[in-house]
């Protein structure tokens, strides 16, 4: 592991120790967040799968009925009968917070559709067309719920990916780097300490030797 490029001083070490503490704490928190996100995600993605199956099934029914209607009516007649929609769907977009991920909540409103979904007069259209329209409007609800659930799953997946990257970076890079550097500094400091002690002993020796020689000379002179 690479050691950080810092001066081996006591102050630097204190600073790094503080950073290591923060990093460890952050790592723990992020890991908890990841666990919880994963838990939520699993539920949502299962729901997502279920809704998709449901939506695709009802959509398939709608298409089938529509194909039959197309077979009975001419294309221009179909175009004509669908040309002016009776209702307009609009979505109110709300927000929900799942583990600090903002996900949209869709609230649907059909305007103008006063219980009647057929945008055409019944006189000039076939019964097949009616059932096609009915099954399309049945497919609407699952489709809309699918949209919400699928978007939530996508956003959560993105957040999980991001969080996991952070956790990994902390766990495998940042924290080992700090530890390595702190170890390096403390070893360097101890080394300096020992060097200092040895120097002191040497100096003491020297001073003592000189003092003894001085004393000997004095005694010899006396």
């Amino acid at each position: 592991m690479a050691r950080l490029n810092v001066n081996p001083t006591r102050m630097e070490m204190t600073r790094l120790k503080q950073q290591l503490k923060t990093a460890t704490r952050g790592h723990k928190l992020l890991k908890d967040k990841l666990d919880e996100l994963m838990k939520q995600f699993l539920n949502i993605v299962r729901e997502n799968k279920r809704l998709r199956e449901e939506a695709e099934k009802s959509l398939e029914d709608a298409y089938q009925n529509f194909i039959i209607a197309q077979a009975v009516m001419s294309e221009s007649a179909i175009g004509e009968s669908l040309m002016i929609p009776r209702q307009a769907v609009s979505v109110k977009v709300g927000k929900k917070n799942i583990m600090s991920v903002n996900v949209p909540v869709f609230d649907f409103q059909s305007e103008g559709g006063s219980g009647d979904i057929y945008p055409y007069g019944l006189a000039f259209s076939s019964g097949e067309m009616d059932s096609a329209m009915l099954s399309f409007s049945d497919a609407m609800e699952p489709l809309l719920r699918l949209a919400e659930s699928e978007k939530t799953a996508q956003l959560l997946a993105q957040e999980i990916e991001k969080t996991r990257r952070r956790v990994n970076a902390l766990e495998n890079v940042m924290i080992p780097n700090y530890q390595e550097t702190i170890k390096y500094i403390s070893m360097k400091l101890e080394e300096n300490d020992r060097a200092g002690t040895t120097r002191m002993m040497k100096v003491k020796d020297l001073v003592l030797k000189r003092a003894i020689e001085e004393k000997k000379r004095k005694e010899a002179g006396a």
Binding site: L42, Y63, F66, I78, G79, M83, P119, F136, K151, I160
Partner: protein, 105 residues
């Protein structure tokens, strides 16, 4: 209030007209891409796109995946499902978990 749109071949999107969804028939890759970007810029919260059309503009769809809005949802076209929609679900599971554990059964 946001709107709902659908992009795809004419046969598939026709039926949605009656529901009050704005339909955008598109058959060429360029058309599909342009429509996606156009709708995303405007006030469309949900954009449905048929599987056939989604194949023509995978980058455009991926681009909006990380944004809160719009939700681009792949749905089967009138010719039936190719399983691409379910693939999207699988992809997000793979992205989050790192392995395809949900659909292995």
């Amino acid at each position: 209030m946001s709107k709902v749109g659908i992009i795809g071949d004419k046969g598939s999107v026709m039926g949605f007209l009656a529901l009050g969804i704005d339909i955008f028939p598109a058959h060429e890759a360029d058309e599909v891409k342009k429509t996606i970007h156009k709708l995303a810029e405007r006030d469309y919260a949900i954009i449905y796109i048929t599987e056939e059309a989604s194949l023509m503009a995978p980058e455009s769809i991926a681009k909006y995946k990380d944004f809160e809005l719009p939700a681009i949802i792949v749905i089967p076209g009138i010719t039936g499902s190719m399983g691409l929609g379910m693939n999207e679900v699988r992809e997000s599971a793979k992205r989050a978990i790192g392995a395809d554990i949900l659909f292995s059964e």
